[in-house]
């Protein structure tokens, strides 16, 4: 019995590939499977090859896998594009309007079916994908009736007829393959568990809302728009506001305005937006205004690869802006972590009164993963830092409140507009303790030291060790963001071969947290940094922060698509061969 099954549906964009894949992913999740998924698509609405890949497993996996057990190819392009990644003995369901046949081809059983005709027989051609899904479910050795709850949830409000149509379609596809007498896979059922299936974008937005974020302003951009859409739909339910800003810069400026006014606020964007928002990043840093910026990275520079994946904004997030800007940059690597890091981000922004950037990437943002059922324990308790109450302010009896008071830790008590006793101008110019413009050298120095020094007390574990119990290893892999899934499997594969390897997945990009990591790096013979950008931005950061440039090797990919397990293993082999020569 298999404890895992992989599935892919491929076709043209606009043919409902996404929603069909989602129907299966949700249903398998409801059955207790852990899911990792991947959507492949291009920058157009109709047409162009697209696929939805699902890996359903008894164990939590974060990588959808290199191979496919069951492929639905709705056209020949999908067949050609995906046949190379079939697992041996896999099944292909290929739409063919001319003939129906079963043959052994390319190491698989290829079943050619006229799904379109079957859809017409049911009187509605849009039902084709559900018929194909019914066929696939038969080949998974599962029952089409398992779709009933989801189909009802999705379609019952549009009438029982639509529910029946979908279930009949699943049944028709199911029975068609059953009648061909093809033996299905046998997949063991997992224990049922309370869990959910969501994308990184959804997880971050939910986490933000649950952590007290009450204001979002943003500009639509792939692959971050879903965050704004989620907040537009749901912030009103908690008395919050989401504004579609006129441009990227205004997106951050408004969030800063709301942050200054005392509301937990955020903006969401991607690389081109970060470039545009950079001016306002300096404003937040200088005026010591809490704000959270989510950056879902995509292929750059310029417009780059608008719908493709890359991790090329690391340097921008850490260094962008003229002058020295205090900031924190976090990088979650799983959907579950997106929820937790949202709560951390809002706390840190208020605790340190500075912008906090959260680095997502397209793969993490847009693909669904299972996540344990939500509990408040997933969030850090809300901490608003040195935000004063009106009573505390009045006790100070300051005619001009010292908003930028020089304190030991560099963090000043804060008031918000509307509070009596806290009147002050926030300022983007260099300013005195009361917030008034100054160019006096002594004050300038003190204020620079205060702003840049306040992050000294920022200490947290900056990485997660993956590959068993944390201990020094011969070869240390390093990555960040969504590569966690595939790197975990790289480590497992190499460990199975007897190699002494481990993975440090970096979670805090800035201020860099060397604690623990420095020792791992020092004791490793080799450090292999795996990342998706041309120049090796993470490798550069590690080299600079840990002084280990001499033993860093990089594995990089920047073609717009995430790594496969095989690609990393191949490049790793090449690194070893290079050394022998």
């Amino acid at each position: 019995m298999k404890k895992e099954i992989t599935f892919k549906i491929g076709g043209q964009q606009g043919e409902g590939i996404d929603s069909t894949g989602e129907v299966l992913a949700i249903t398998l999740m409801q059955q207790g499977f852990k899911i990792a998924s991947y959507k492949h698509f291009s920058s157009r609405i109709k047409g162009g090859h697209t696929y939805y890949h699902i890996r359903a497993s008894h164990q939590q996996v974060y990588y959808p896998g290199d191979t496919t057990d069951i492929l639905i190819a709705l056209d020949d392009e999908s067949y050609e594009h995906n046949i190379g990644s079939m697992s041996p003995g896999g099944y292909v369901l290929l739409e063919n309007s001319k003939e129906e046949k079963v043959e052994q081809k390319d190491g698989c059983t290829v079943i050619q079916v006229n799904f379109s005709k079957m859809a017409q027989e049911l009187g509605n051609k849009i039902i084709r994908n559900m018929i194909a899904l019914g066929s696939a479910v038969y080949l998974m050795g599962m029952d089409y009736k398992m779709f009933q709850p989801l189909v009802e949830k999705k379609f019952l409000r549009k009438g029982q007829a639509l529910v029946d149509l979908n279930i009949n379609a699943l049944k028709k596809g199911y029975e068609y393959i059953q009648n061909l007498g093809i033996p299905p896979f046998k997949v063991e059922r997992p224990e049922p568990s309370e869990q959910a299936l969501l994308t990184g974008n959804e997880a971050f937005a939910f986490g933000a809302l649950a952590s007290g974020c009450r204001f979002l302003s943003a500009y639509p951009i792939t692959p971050a728009s879903e965050i704004m859409e989620y907040m537009k739909a749901n912030l009103p339910k908690v008395g919050g506001v989401a504004v579609q800003a006129e441009d990227e810069l205004a997106g951050l400026l408004m969030a800063i305005g709301a942050g200054y006014a005392g509301v937990r606020s955020m903006t969401s964007t991607s690389g081109p937006g970060i470039s545009l928002k950079t001016e306002a990043l300096g404003l937040a840093g200088m005026s010591e205004t809490p704000v959270v910026i989510v950056n879902s990275q995509r292929g750059g520079p310029g417009t780059g690869l608008p719908t493709k994946y890359e991790q090329g904004d690391l340097n921008t997030m850490i260094y962008a802006g003229h002058g020295d800007i205090p900031r924190i940059v976090l990088a979650p690597s799983t959907v579950e972590e997106c929820i937790r890091m949202a709560s951390m981000a809002f706390n840190l922004a208020e605790r340190y009164q500075c912008p906090v950037i959260v680095a997502l990437d397209l793969v993490l943002s847009l693909n669904k993963q299972t996540c344990p059922d939500f509990s408040p324990k997933m969030l850090e308790p809300i901490d608003r830092g040195k935000l004063l109450t009106e009573k505390e302010l009045e006790e100070l009896q300051e005619f001009n409140f010292k908003r930028y008071r020089l304190t030991e830790d560099g963090i000043s008590p804060r008031s918000i507009p509307g509070q009596r006793g806290g009147v002050h101008p926030a300022n983007s110019n260099e300013h005195s303790e009361t917030g008034h413009i100054t160019e006096l050298p002594d004050i300038r120095e003190a204020m620079m030291n205060k702003r840049m020094g306040k992050l000294k007390s920022f200490k947290m574990k900056g990485y997660e060790f993956i590959g068993g119990e944390e201990k020094p290893v011969q070869t240390l892999f390093i990555g960040f963001g969504s590569t966690r899934g595939v790197l975990e499997e790289v480590v497992r594969t190499l460990q199975d071969k007897g190699e002494d390897v481990g993975l440090a997945q970096i979670k805090v990009l800035h201020p860099f947290q060397p604690e623990g990591l420095a020792e791992l790096a020092e004791k490793a013979e080799k450090i292999v940094v795996v990342e998706n950008n041309w120049s090796g931005q993470m490798a550069g950061l590690i080299a600079k922060e840990l002084q280990v440039a001499h033993k860093i090797e990089t594995i990089r990919k920047f073609d717009g698509n995430p790594f496969t397990l095989a690609e990393i293993l191949n490049q790793y082999e090449q690194l070893l061969t290079k050394e022998v020569v």
Binding site: S211, G212, A261, I416, S428, H436
Partner: protein, 285 residues
């Protein structure tokens, strides 16, 4: 009751005779006349000489970036509807580098007042041609005369959908205070374009004194609620008018926001409501 003393911020360092002194006084007087306390007012500014208004006026304030006061100001208001929010900046700020924000703020119609201290020159950078400098204006950045036609703020604001458009000369402080107060009482985006002479680089005092603006209170039966009237009077007088040119009562932005609370968001509890969270989470199951 707050007095001028309560509203006095840092000592102003504008050039003696600068029109901005009057504008500052106009805003302060309007706040006092409206019975506002300094903690109930937020003045959000851009940069340049005009940006210093938030320095010199004691209230909540935010001296932001060049041309960026409006997005910040709109968010401050949405975050705390209990505040009176005034954005202020110069002509370069509002009609040059920030003109995109200006047009969108006008159509969005958040309940704020935008005061543009229009001196038709870049003052703090020492006298370069600005967006409202007249075509042919000679400066070090247009030694042969500016080739561009000037921005016409009133027509721009009307076209962008501003629900309140006014203009005044800074030399007439009484009238200015009156108009700023009207603007602050207007529920929606209110523009007050103030001709505020730059005594150092573009001294227009004599010009405005000798050829005063046409005050609309002297125009019999002028109806500011009629958009046609507004356009006509502005076009006919080449923009040289004073008073409330246009005002309509279309609903402000916040009235379109579902679930927008009656009380300031800034002072609401942010502890999560578990029922709402559970309901939202159920969508992922």
């Amino acid at each position: 009751m707050a007095t001028l003393k309560d509203y006095k911020g840092d000592t102003a360092t504008w050039c003696p005779g600068c029109g901005h002194f009057s504008v500052l006084a106009g805003i302060q007087r309007a706040c006092i006349a409206m019975g506002l306390e300094p903690h109930e007012v937020a003045v959000i500014t851009g940069i340049g000489c005009s940006g210093k208004v938030s320095e010199y006026m004691r209230c909540y304030g935010f001296h932001t970036l060049h041309g960026r006061s409006l997005p910040v100001a709109q968010a401050v208001k949405l975050a705390n509807r209990g505040l009176k929010v005034v954005a202020a900046g110069g002509d370069g700020d509002g009609y040059g580098i920030g003109v995109g924000h200006f047009t969108h703020a006008a159509r969005r119609n958040v309940d704020i007042t935008y005061i543009v201290l229009d001196n038709q020159i870049y003052g703090l950078t020492k006298g370069q041609t600005s967006p409202t400098s007249k075509q042919g204006f000679v400066s070090r950045t247009s030694p042969e005369g500016a080739g561009e036609q000037e921005v016409r703020p009133l027509e721009l604001a009307l076209g962008a959908g501003a629900s309140f458009v006014a203009q005044v000369f800074a030399g007439d402080i009484k009238r200015m205070t009156e108009i700023i107060q009207q603007a602050m009482n207007h529920e929606g985006f209110a523009l007050v374009n103030v001709f505020s002479p730059c005594v150092t680089y573009n001294n227009t005092y004599t010009y405005f004194k000798e050829e005063p603006l046409l005050d609309l209170k002297d125009v019999p039966d002028y109806d500011p609620t009629d958009l046609n009237n507004a356009y006509n009077i502005v076009l006919k007088n080449n923009g040289r008018v004073q008073g409330v040119i246009y005002q309509n009562n279309r609903p402000a932005y916040h009235t379109f926001l579902a679930g927008y609370p009656e009380d300031p968001i800034a002072f609401r509890s942010i502890e999560p409501d578990q029922d709402v969270l559970n309901e939202l989470w159920a969508e992922f199951k």
